[in-house]
C-alpha cells in the first residue's frame, strides 16, 4: 500500500512536469476502485462509467491542488463521490419529469445480470428470495437522497472517515455525521422487516 502511494506520488509529480502518460498509470491503477464506488452510488453501470471518466478528467484538471495531499486514490474517490451526487440529482430530476411508465424496471434501476447472482448454485427458490431482497435493497438505496446515499456508500462500503465524507458533501463534519446516521436509519426502516424475516427463517432452519 505504501509502495503504491509512493509510486502514485511519483506519477503525480511526473504528470505535473508535463508527462501525460504518467497520468495513465494513475487511471489504470485506480479505475476499478472508483467504478465500484460509482456503481454503488448510482445503481447502474452506464452512470457509473460516466462518473469514473469525469472523476479522472477532473482529477487531471485539478492536479495542482493535489500536490500537497497524501493519497491519490482517496482524492480521486472523493472527486468521484462529489460528481456522482450531481449526477444522481440530475437523474432524479429527469426521472421526476418522466412518466412513471418510462422508468427502466419497477425500481428505476437497471438490473445488471451480475447483481442477480447472490451466491454459488442457489436453489431456484432461494435465488428468487435473494433477488426479492436485492430488489428491496436497491429500492431502499434509491429512496435515499443523493447526499445520504453518498454518505452511506463512502462510510460503509468505502470505509471513508467523516471528514472525507464532509468534504465530498461540501458540508460540516457534524452535518456529514448526521447524514450518515439518517441514511442508515432510513435503510433500517425499509429493510429490517425483510432482513429479520430472513434471519428468523435461517435460525429456525426453514430458510429455502
Amino acid at each position: 500500500m505504501e509502495a503504491t502511494g509512493h509510486s502514485d506520488a511519483i506519477a503525480v509529480e511526473r504528470t505535473l512536469a508535463g508527462d501525460r502518460d504518467a497520468f495513465r498509470v494513475l487511471v489504470e491503477r485506480h479505475s476499478r476502485n472508483v467504478f465500484r464506488l460509482a456503481y454503488r452510488m448510482t445503481g447502474n453501470q452506464h452512470d457509473a462509467e460516466e462518473v469514473v471518466q469525469e472523476a479522472f478528467l477532473r482529477a487531471y484538471q485539478k492536479l495542482g491542488q493535489f500536490a500537497a495531499r497524501a493519497n491519490f486514490g482517496t482524492w480521486v474517490y472523493r472527486i468521484a463521490a462529489n460528481y456522482a451526487i450531481d449526477r444522481m440529482r440530475q437523474r432524479k430530476s429527469e426521472d421526476a419529469q418522466r412518466e412513471p411508465a418510462g422508468r427502466p424496471g419497477d425500481d428505476g434501476i437497471e438490473r445488471d445480470p451480475a447483481s442477480l447472482v447472490p451466491d454459488a448454485a442457489p436453489s431456484p427458490e432461494r435465488l428468487a428470495q435473494s433477488e426479492q431482497l436485492a430488489g428491496h435493497m436497491r429500492r431502499a438505496l434509491d429512496e435515499l437522497t443523493p447526499a445520504e446515499r453518498t454518505a452511506f456508500v463512502m462510510r460503509h462500503w468505502g470505509g471513508s472517515g467523516i471528514e472525507e465524507i464532509a468534504d465530498a458533501l461540501k458540508s460540516s463534519t457534524s452535518a456529514a455525521k448526521n447524514t450518515v446516521f439518517r441514511s442508515v436509519q432510513k435503510l433500517r426502516r425499509s429493510l429490517e422487516p425483510f432482513v429479520e424475516r430472513r434471519r428468523q427463517a435461517k435460525a429456525m432452519g426453514t430458510e429455502l
Binding site: L16, A17, G18, R20, F23, R24, V27, E28, R29, H30, S31, R32, F35, Y39, R40, V52, Q53, F56, L57, Y60, Q61, K62, L63, G64, Q65, F66, A67, A68, D112, A114, S115, V117, P118, L133, A134, M137, L141, T145, A147, R155, H156, W157, L169, K170, S171, S172, A175, N178, V180, F181, V184, Q185, L187, R188, L191, E192, V195, E196, R198, R199
Partner: protein, 272 residues
C-alpha cells in the same frame, strides 16, 4: 447508563470512538441493546452482499482510451501558471484558498484603484500585470461562489439533529451567509462596473438568497426550512452559481483571461 440512542449505536457499529468503552460495556450487559445492535448489523451485512459487476482487468485501459484524447480540452489548471507543482500547487491548495478569500476583498479594492503593480505578483512569470490581476479577481470570485454553494448545499441537507428534536439548527449556515454578504456586495459592484451584467445578475440573486438565510432565525421549524429551500430552488440559484463557477474556472485556465470579459463567455453567462 441509559440505553444508548439509535444514533449512538449506529455510530458505535461504524467504529465511532466517542464513548466507545461505555457503550461496549452497556451492550454486553443489556440484551435489549445487544439485540438492537444485531438488527443494525443484520441490515448492514445484507447490504454488503449486494454485488457490483466486475468491469474486467482491462477496465483501466478502457477508461484511459476514453479520457486520454479529452485531456487536452480540459487544460490542466496548473499548466496555465507556467510552472509545476511549486507555486501553482501552493496557490491552489485548498487551505490557502481560505486565505485567498480573506484577502480577496483587499486585493480587489487595490485592483479597482489600479494600485496593483507587478511588484505584488512577481511569481506570475510571463503573464502581464493585467492578466495577473484578472486571475486574482476570477479566483477570488470563484472561491466566494464555492463557499456560497457549500452553505446552500448544507441548507438543502439540513435536518433535526435527532428524531425527537422538531427544530433545525441553521446557526452555522446563517453566520456564514452573513460573512458572505459583504464580499458578495463588493463583487457584484465590481462586476457591474466592469460591464459584466451576467455575473452581476447572478451575484444579485445570490445576495437575496444570502440575505434570506442571514435574516432567518437560528433554529427553524421544518416548514420554515422548506420555505427557505423553496425560495432557493425557485431562483435556481444553486445551478446558476455552479454554471458561473465553472465558467470562471475556464477563464482561470485560459492563457489570456484578460481578453475574455467582453467575449462570448459573458454572453453565455447572461443567459443563465
Amino acid at each position: 447508563m441509559k440505553h444508548p440512542h439509535e444514533e449512538e449505536l449506529i455510530a458505535y457499529h461504524g467504529g465511532e470512538i466517542l464513548r466507545r468503552d461505555i457503550i461496549a460495556d452497556h451492550v454486553t450487559d443489556c440484551p435489549e441493546c445487544r439485540a438492537e445492535l444485531e438488527r443494525i448489523d443484520a441490515v448492514l451485512a445484507a447490504l454488503s452482499t449486494m454485488p457490483v459487476p466486475e468491469p474486467g482487468d482491462d477496465y483501466g485501459q478502457r477508461v484511459w482510451q476514453q479520457i486520454g484524447p479529452r485531456l487536452a480540452e480540459r487544460r490542466a489548471r496548473w499548466l496555465n501558471f507556467g510552472v509545476g507543482g511549486g507555486f501553482a500547487a501552493g496557490w491552489l491548495e485548498p487551505r490557502r484558498w481560505a486565505a485567498v478569500g480573506a484577502i480577496a476583498a483587499v486585493v480587489l479594492l487595490a485592483f479597482l484603484a489600479g494600485r496593483v503593480t507587478k511588484r505584488v505578483t512577481p511569481e506570475a512569470g510571463m503573464a502581464d500585470a493585467s492578466n495577473v490581476r484578472e486571475r486574482v479577481l476570477i479566483m477570488a470570485v470563484g472561491e466566494h461562489l464555492g463557499r456560497s454553494e457549500m452553505v446552500l448545499v448544507e441548507l438543502g441537507n439540513a435536518e433535526p439533529a435527532n428524531a425527537k428534536q422538531k427544530e433545525v439548527n441553521i446557526s452555522s449556515e446563517r453566520r456564514r451567509a452573513e460573512d458572505l454578504l459583504e464580499e458578495n456586495r463588493l463583487y457584484r459592484r465590481t462586476a457591474l462596473e466592469q460591464g459584466d451584467t451576467g455575473l452581476a445578475n447572478v451575484l444579485d440573486e445570490l445576495e437575496r438568497v444570502l440575505l434570506d438565510v442571514a435574516h432567518s432565525p437560528q433554529e427553524v421549524t421544518p416548514a420554515q426550512l422548506d420555505n427557505i429551500r423553496q425560495r432557493i430552488e425557485s431562483r435556481g440559484i444553486l445551478f446558476k452559481v455552479r454554471v458561473v463557477g465553472e465558467e470562471l474556472q475556464q477563464r482561470a485556465e485560459s492563457p489570456t483571461p484578460a481578453a475574455k470579459p467582453n467575449g462570448s463567455t459573458k454572453l453565455e453567462r447572461n443567459k443563465t
